[in-house]
Symmetry: C2
DNA sequence: CTTAAACATTTGTCTAGACAACAATAGTAA
DNA sequence: TTACTATTGTTGTCTAGACAAATGTTTAAG
């Protein structure tokens, strides 16, 4: 039955409205799963995302603003998110000598270790492909990109 | 370019991973738009959703638990969300005589009036169909439903 | 040099999702 | 009746998104 059953709404006014609710609901569903999964590593989904962003630049550090523009939740508070990671010693945070407005953030070995552990979790990474095909994933990406265009 | 450009990530490890990020990012993008739009009516997107749920049952009232299971964000705090709407006089809230554990929630004429106003906003309701076709919307629904199955 | 504008980040405040603990009520069975 | 269990909703606490204001720094203009 799909989304109608999930939000217990028999009928949507249009296929478009249904799609909007479906995106929001699926995202929430996915977020809940991610939150539950990452809990064992003591991080939130967006903290995981920040760690991955930092690994992409490693060993070079990144500025807060550069991290922010790569984040999924754009309006999230990067300062406080990074501070949480610093308290858990997953990132380093040092004032930039060259430009004292900036703060250089880099991932620590502890942060890298957590990412490696998650990388190796076959079950986590293959969950989606047990549900949809590669062709469907590609089609999904195409339509979502088009919707935001 | 699509999602790669939006999160400034040149390459994803798989089409599936890209799709997961794409769903989360698109949902956040959509949520931001909705938040901005509903601000003029002094409600949040999930408050709008609760009003629509209540209109679906109107003039019968609904229990909190029944509202909660129809919400997009399942783990949201229904008590507090409804209380916000009550303070704005968009819903009524009365203790149920027959079962004193229950609270009967119903939408007020003020709440209905806001929904009517939004109903008539052609621009809001047709935004999606300017971007994707009906066939694409249907395909999107099909794939998202399959992913959650 | 002084001043203004732009930049990079921090902080405060509100809203709300996540989740557990709690309280009150109703139903059921001995 | 009493005790047990399930139901229904409320409250507290933590995390984090939304957004505006404030702080300190650098750059550019005059």
């Amino acid at each position: 039955m799909g989304i109608e059953q999930d939000v217990k709404q028999a009928k949507f006014s249009s296929e478009f409205q249904k799609a909007m609710v479906n995106i929001l609901f699926t995202s929430s569903w996915l977020g809940n799963r991610n939150t539950a999964y990452f809990k064992r590593f003591d991080i939130s989904p967006e903290q995981f995302n920040v760690l991955r962003i930092l690994r992409g630049s490693h060993p070079s550090p990144m500025r807060l603003a550069d991290i922010a523009e790569r984040m999924i939740e754009r309006n999230s508070n990067c300062t406080r998110l990074v501070e949480k990671l610093r308290q858990k010693q997953m990132v380093n945070r040092e004032l930039c000598e060259a430009n004292r407005r900036q703060v250089d953030i880099s991932i620590t070995s502890k942060g890298l270790k957590i990412l490696e552990e998650i990388d190796q979790d076959e079950e986590y990474w293959t969950a989606a492909e047990k549900k949809i095909t590669k062709v469907e994933a590609r089609e999904l990406n195409r339509i979502l990109d088009k919707l935001r265009s």
